[in-house]
Symmetry: C2
Subunit: 181 residues, 2 copies
Amino acid sequence: MPSDAPYWEAHSVDPAALTDSDKQSYKKLSSFAAKGVAVVTAVQGRWDQATVVTDYLSVSYDPPTMLVSLYSLSRMAEAFVESGRWGVSLLASNQRNVAEALGEQASPLPRLLDRIPHFRTGEGTPALIVGSLCWFDLRTTHVTVAATHTLFVGEVTAMGRSAEFGALPLTRFQSGYLRSK
Amino acid sequence: MPSDAPYWEAHSVDPAALTDSDKQSYKKLSSFAAKGVAVVTAVQGRWDQATVVTDYLSVSYDPPTMLVSLYSLSRMAEAFVESGRWGVSLLASNQRNVAEALGEQASPLPRLLDRIPHFRTGEGTPALIVGSLCWFDLRTTHVTVAATHTLFVGEVTAMGRSAEFGALPLTRFQSGYLRSK
């Protein structure tokens, strides 16, 4: 590669012969995607399951449709499959403690939400986080498996705000949070 | 709703009887999701197609897999289908001019990239943006339609950096950009 190349750490990948170095490079590079931090929730039997995610997106306005990507073998994915209903709460920048309490990528544990202020829009619907920038109740409409993850697509059945006006988002970037002003 | 409710602007949605007000509320609420801005590209016949997106995510490390959501009737979605190969370049905070030149949600036009420094990892592969935080070449592995959009899932065939170390992301939030430090 010439020294004036407009890129570096360029790395070819052969998906049929993946190396650990490929996976490490991808982890590092994909961490440059800034992402608002969200809590996803579902009721599984008697328990609330909750975990922190950044892999979600808005798919459509018509009808309001969102997607969340969950590791297929996670307890959260199991709760989504069992319940078919889930909540998404986008955290504000002053809710870093919520993200840390729920522990990114950790297995969600029953009663974890006991210590985190939450509410519901109805009996038996998913918990939603008090103080979140916005929140959505959803019902699964499509499920697709892609590599190690399952993509849950759902339509919005209720939505609202909880944070004060002017609140900023809690945003992941690289291995930390983006400082916003 | 009691005045001490921990939420406001709460809004129920009946997906079977959607109103314009539902769509407007969802647009406003979903804009609270902070998202790094990316340029997606594909070669369509003799032309580069390019557009600005925030609806993408990393699906898996094993193999490195990403997803981009495109409006099904867009020229970009057509280019993705025809080519089966696409590029994702995550913009740095000093590339707001690139995002504005490509025009969010506008139809991509041939030769639009002429004015934007770009490179390729090989002959006929998608254009990638010089100065981007990171870039990925992908090949489509799954296509799923969800409401008005098509979800393109692809595996990474090459990846790298282009921005200087320490560069910050260009991040959408509400109707503008998040100011980071």
